[in-house]
Each structure stands twice: as structure tokens, then as C-alpha cells.
């Protein structure tokens, strides 16, 4: 399973390395979203610094949808999906591989967006490890749920419009938790209040990774 996962993740990251879709389209989109949020909230830096945690996570959520769409569309042409299924790769490994590739891209993106939030909104981070933990745990949750819904919607002609509608309400707890952890870790926050949210993220991740590992095989058959 792990070897298959590494193979699939390597394949997806190699495709990204050659096509640069996430780097040249998804990441700039995230930055555009940050700039638009700034326009929406006005030039008051205090307001922006206060809203920074939520805006960061909303931008990440939007980029997740795009990353998942890309991850699905990579398999949609030339019968790639059938090829993968015929290749004898363990469905659980396939699931983990796709999720790891999405997660890796999201981590890079979050790094970029964090720098953007700090520079553009003047948000000052007091407890860096908490930010890192929230990003890593949040990313695992987003990639785990996103890959599941991506597989479910992969055969649909209305995928582009249906996926965000199905996925975004499901990941609402990630947005809530991520935002609260960020608020706790920013200047003026209380770091202790972030701990229960970190635990919530761990539970969310465990539940959806487990579902994905167990059910990805049957889910593929619905596409």
C-alpha cells in the first residue's frame, strides 16, 4: 500500500513539475484572492490583521477546490483512470498517493499565502509552531476529503460546479478550527485556546483518512 502510494504521489507530483499548473495558476489565484479580500475590507490594516486568519483559510479552501479539480482532471483523459485501476495498484495506495500529492501542493501554497498574509495584512504571528501544526493538520483533512469527493465526482459532466458545493460544507470544521488556531497564535491571542481545535483537526483527519483507505475501492466503481 505504501509503495503504491509513493508511486502515485510521485507520478502526480511529476506531472505537476512538468505542467506547473498549481504553481502558475492555483497559487497566483490564491494571491489574487488575498488582494480581493483586502479590497473588500478596506485599507484599514487593523481590520485586515483581525480578519487575516479567516481570510487565509478561505483562500486555502478555494485553492483546495482547484487543486482537487486538477488532481481529478489529470486522470480523466486517455482512459488514465481505467489504466490506473487495471495496473493492480491497491485502491488504498492510490487514495493515499493522490491525497499526498494534493497535500504537498497545498503546503507550498499555504507557505506562500502565510507570507502574503503577514506582509499584506500586517498580521503578526506569535506562536509559529501552532501555525505550522494547524496548516499541516488542516491540509491533511482538506486533501483527504477532497480526494474522496474528487473520486466520487470524477465521472460527472457537472463536476466543476458540483464539487465545490459538496466539498466546502464538509470541510467547514477545518475552516473553523484553522481560523481559531490562527487567532490563538497571532499577536493578542491566547495560545492555550488553540489546543482543543488542534485535537478536533486530528479527529477530522483520522476519520476521513480512515474512510478513504477503506472505501476508495468501492467509490471508484461508481465513477
Amino acid at each position: 500500500m505504501w509503495r503504491d502510494a509513493a508511486l502515485v504521489a510521485g507520478k502526480d507530483l511529476r506531472i505537476e513539475g512538468r505542467s506547473r499548473v498549481a504553481l502558475s495558476q492555483v497559487a497566483p489565484f490564491g494571491v489574487v484572492a488575498l488582494v480581493l479580500f483586502a479590497f473588500a475590507l478596506g485599507p484599514d490594516r487593523q481590520v485586515m490583521a483581525k480578519g487575516a486568519p479567516g481570510l487565509f483559510w478561505v483562500a486555502v479552501l478555494f485553492c483546495t477546490v482547484l487543486a482537487i479539480q486538477r488532481s481529478v482532471s489529470v486522470e480523466s483523459s486517455d482512459g488514465a483512470r481505467d489504466g490506473l485501476r487495471l495496473s493492480g495498484i491497491d485502491p488504498a495506495g492510490l487514495y493515499l498517493g493522490k491525497a499526498v500529492a494534493v497535500a504537498a501542493q497545498l503546503v507550498v501554497l499555504e507557505l506562500l499565502l502565510t507570507v502574503g498574509v503577514v506582509l499584506l495584512y500586517g498580521a503578526w504571528i506569535e506562536v509559529p509552531w501552532m501555525i505550522v501544526a494547524s496548516c499541516l493538520l488542516g491540509t491533511v483533512g482538506l486533501a483527504a476529503t477532497g480526494t474522496l469527493y474528487g473520486a466520487l465526482s470524477s465521472g460527472l459532466r457537472v463536476r466543476e460546479t458540483l464539487l465545490p458545493f459538496l466539498l466546502l460544507p464538509i470541510v467547514a470544521p477545518v475552516l473553523l478550527a484553522g481560523t481559531r488556531i490562527w487567532q490563538a497564535a497571532m499577536a493578542g491571542g491566547t495560545p492555550a485556546s488553540g489546543m482543543q481545535w488542534l485535537r478536533l483537526l486530528v479527529v477530522f483527519d483520522a476519520v476521513y483518512v480512515a474512510i478513504g483507505v477503506v472505501l476508495f475501492g468501492p467509490i471508484q466503481e461508481t465513477a
Binding site: 464538509i170 470544521p173 473553523l176 481559531r180 481545535w197 477530522f204
Partner: protein, 298 residues
């Protein structure tokens, strides 16, 4: 009422008058008919639900006393928690259980899929009623139509989750594929509900705690109010069951129509072609559209 639904479906899709004889083409399987027993059960439940609701409204508005603190506003208590109970626990619980039963290979049957779909659809209606009645109650008591309180927020998220489920069901697909897909989505949503519940609870809380089903199980209201409240719960539950049965039956007919649509259309076209040759005696009566005109001219 149920028979009307069945016959008009057949007649309309075959393009004939409702009074005309059924289509003679043997390939079209007849629409599944409802047995007289299930019809009787359905009618009884519907009647009881209607009577219960009327009695609740009568007791709630004219018989029970106003509240010491809330005055007449308290009368919403006979509707709002009952509607919420049906939407949040009964309907979505049933949807989750039937989706699970569909996915479990030993109990796999389209029966569970239709039941889940019917439960979600009725549940969404009750969920909207919960939000609307809560909003009407919130305006005079809290001073706002909407508050970002934990329960309100999780109810709203639940509504969005299951609207997504219904949107997915509307995507055309083979019944089995659609059933699997929707069952997975219902299951993922059901798993998310406790997490959403906790996260939103930590996020914000303003709503009053449970009154009747509190930790020591001693209801904090008395007399006629408690009985009216109980009756409201029963009446709304019966209304839910009635809607569920009707929606399930419509689901069966929809599946039948989906499976026989082509045959019905073929039979219709054939009867159009046959009509002028046989002097319009075949599938009974003139048909709408150009061929109908030709019959008129001949």
C-alpha cells in the same frame, strides 16, 4: 388519489387521453400499482397527521396559557422543536441508516436508496421550516432574525450538506450508480455531523439548552403545555411518515418511468403512425401535434 397519480402518468406519457385504453404495445411494463392495504395505511397515517396537527394548533393557540416570561411567543414551542426533531434526527438519521444499509452488500436494495432519497427530501423541507420558525421566534426574543449561534449554524450547515445530496441525485445516471454515489455522499455527510456539531458549539453558543430531554430527564414544563408539546411531536412525526410514504411511492413511479421512457415514446410514435392508416381506431383518440391535424383532415 394514489390511483389518479398512476393512471395519469401512464396516460400522459403515452400521449393518449386518460380515458383511452392502455397502450397495446406489450413491451411496456405496466406502472407498479399500489396495493389496497398500503393505500389504506397511507391514508390512515395522513388522516391522523392532519387531525393531530389541527389539534396541536387548536390547543397551542386557544387552550394553553401564555408563558410568564415570553407571553404568547411561547406558543411557537409547540411547533419549532417538533419540526426540528423531525428534520435533524428522524429524517437525516433515517437517511444515514438507509444509505448504510444500501452500501452493505447483504442488504443492498434500491428500496434503501429510495427511502434515503425520500427522507432527505422531506427532511430538507422540515429543516427549512425549522430555520424559518426559529427565525420568527428569534426576532422578538433575541432581537435578530438570525444569530450565529451554534445550533442555528449547524442546522444551516446540515441543510447545505443535504441540498448537495439532492443536487447530486439530480445528475442523470443509472439507478444503481446514482444510488451508490448518493449513499456515499450521505454517509460522508453523516460522519461530519458530530464534528460540525462540536466545532460549532465551541465556536459560539446562545441557544437555550434542551428543555424536555435534559440530562436528568425531568421536563421543565407542566400540564396542558407539556401534553400539547407531546401531541405536536407525534403529529409532526406522523406528517413526516406520511410524506415519506408518498415520496417513496413517487420514487417507485419515477424509476418505472425512467426505465420505460423509451418504450413509451416508441409506443406513442407507433400509434401516431398507425392512426391515419386504420382510420384512427388504434391507440384511441386523436393525438396532439401535426399527426393529430392529419387525423382531423382525413
Amino acid at each position: 388519489m394514489s390511483d389518479d397519480v398512476t393512471t395519469t402518468t401512464v396516460a400522459e406519457s403515452a400521449g393518449t387521453h386518460p380515458a383511452a385504453a392502455p397502450v397495446s404495445n406489450t413491451r411496456v411494463t405496466p406502472a407498479p400499482a399500489q396495493s389496497s392495504r398500503s393505500k389504506a395505511v397511507e391514508r390512515t397515517i395522513g388522516l391522523l397527521a392532519l387531525l393531530g396537527t389541527v389539534a396541536t394548533v387548536w390547543l397551542g393557540i386557544w387552550v394553553t396559557p401564555p408563558d410568564k416570561v415570553q407571553g404568547d411567543l411561547v406558543r411557537l414551542v409547540y411547533i419549532h422543536p417538533g419540526v426540528a426533531w423531525v428534520a435533524l434526527y428522524l429524517a437525516f438519521g433515517l437517511a444515514a441508516v438507509s444509505s448504510l444499509l444500501y452500501l452493505w452488500p447483504r442488504t443492498r436494495s434500491l428500496l434503501w436508496d429510495r427511502l434515503a432519497a425520500a427522507a432527505v427530501e422531506v427532511g430538507v423541507v422540515f429543516n427549512v421550516c425549522t430555520l424559518v420558525s426559529g427565525s420568527i421566534w428569534g426576532r422578538p426574543t433575541w432581537g435578530v432574525w438570525w444569530a450565529w449561534d451554534a445550533r442555528l449554524t449547524s442546522t444551516a450547515v446540515l441543510l447545505v450538506l443535504f441540498l448537495g445530496y439532492l443536487a447530486l441525485r439530480r445528475v442523470p445516471a443509472e439507478p444503481e450508480v446514482r444510488a451508490r454515489r448518493s449513499a456515499f455522499v450521505a454517509l460522508f455527510a453523516a460522519v461530519d455531523i458530530p464534528i460540525i456539531h462540536f466545532s460549532v458549539n465551541w465556536w459560539n453558543t446562545l441557544h437555550q439548552g434542551a428543555t424536555v430531554l435534559n440530562a436528568n430527564l425531568s421536563p421543565q414544563i407542566h400540564g396542558s403545555m407539556a401534553w400539547t408539546l407531546l401531541l405536536g411531536f407525534v403529529a409532526l412525526t406522523l406528517a413526516f411518515v406520511w410524506m415519506l410514504l408518498v415520496r417513496y411511492r413517487i420514487g417507485v413511479l419515477e424509476d418505472w418511468l425512467g426505465a420505460n421512457e423509451l418504450d413509451l415514446a416508441l409506443a406513442e410514435r407507433q400509434s401516431e403512425g398507425a392512426a391515419p392508416a386504420n382510420g384512427g381506431s388504434v391507440a384511441g383518440g386523436p393525438v396532439d401535434g401535426p399527426s393529430g391535424d392529419r387525423v382531423g383532415v382525413a
